[in-house]
Subunit: 222 residues, 2 copies
């Protein structure tokens, strides 16, 4: 499959790009608002993969071009850019394209990070509201520590929770998740259950802050 | 230490009572609104413990009597009874007593269970608001599956997250948690971080519902 990582130049997008390029045979294309920035990052990722004898090609393109040819489009952008990003690429989406939403809205105070629930109910719902009605949306990859994901030397051994109303689309994303070594996909039900999944991300950051040796902590359900 | 489990006649209270009585030397007293019901349950727990050659005494009393003599009072009651329960036992609480809040407010719809955040910010905050100002409150034991906890044959291997503003009180509860075989306490920060901890409970129930073989699932941070 061809996977476009919009916002693939940083944070969770970088880790997913490197892991999919390294662990699977999927085509990976980095999307950014600036095509040149996407191409520069794609070359950086290729250099890192080559240094590990992983001869994987990573492409770079402006978001609309990246999305247009992709089977799966991951919205690896900050939560407040999810709507805009979907609208910017909407012409390239149809019922054959699958949108994946990993973003989480958070607020911080002195105590730690807190889940900021959007009016739509969740960021995944924001993505679904912005998407063409025929394009299935799956929430996934919310609770992965970006640095750990991007460090190919780091063992993952974490779960990722999937939410969505289209079971076939959810199965496809589950397969993509399972293709990354150390990630186990679990079903958290329909899209209406997204808020409880997204809420885990600020919790993980709080757990990392208040417990020694738990930097970049992930979650497992056992 | 002497631990009073208000609402120890069912759900999470039963499991904590059995585990503490079985795994530690702490004194365990079951509290209930009806003293006779508490005594009957305490006898049931003693019978079960005796059948496992654990010769542990479990007492039963009305909530105010149970709380009055206790070092630690666990509010193992439904979220909508937390305030009333604290008020009913307030005369027996002082700066030497430690209140523990494991309750979580949830709502259900077709998709699953959802976190219902009280106006106070969390159920733990509701308990703190109702408690005498000198009594420290710690949120803990929210995310334990009641049936698995109450089944002494079941392996736990789960984490429990602690929130609270009194570090000494949190340390005490961490020790109590660690006294139960298979429970690892983790610090989730001040009481203001309680909502993200409580939110995990509906998520666990959704994960149990949508994944085969994950009945009574717990959470681990790794």
């Amino acid at each position: 499959m061809r996977i476009a990582l919009l916002g693939g130049t940083g944070d969770i997008g970088q880790g997913l790009a490197l892991r999919w390029a390294h662990d699977t045979n999927h085509e990976v294309v980095i999307g950014s608002r600036e095509a040149q920035r996407a191409r520069t990052k794609a070359e950086e990722y290729e250099t890192e993969l080559a240094s590990r004898d992983a001869d994987a090609a990573v492409e770079g393109a402006a978001n609309p071009e990246a999305a247009a040819g992709a089977d799966v489009v991951v919205l690896a952008v900050p939560p407040y850019h999810v709507s805009d990003t979907v609208e910017a690429v909407a012409d390239g989406l149809d019922e054959e394209t699958l949108l994946v939403s990993p973003a989480v809205g958070m607020q911080s105070d002195e105590a730690g990070l807190h889940y900021h629930r959007p009016g739509a109910g969740s960021v995944t719902a924001v993505a679904a509201d912005a998407a063409p009605p025929e394009t299935p949306v799956v929430g996934a990859f919310h609770n992965l520590a970006a640095d750990r994901l991007a460090n190919l030397d780091a063992d993952l051994s974490v779960d990722t929770l999937l939410v969505g109303d289209d079971e076939d689309a959810k199965d496809t994303v589950a397969s993509l998740a399972a293709g990354i070594e150390g990630i186990r996909p679990l079903d958290a039900g329909p899209l209406a259950n997204a808020a409880e999944v997204e809420s885990v991300t600020p919790l993980l950051i709080n757990v990392a802050r208040y417990n020694e040796g738990m930097h970049d902590v992930g979650v497992r359900f056992e």
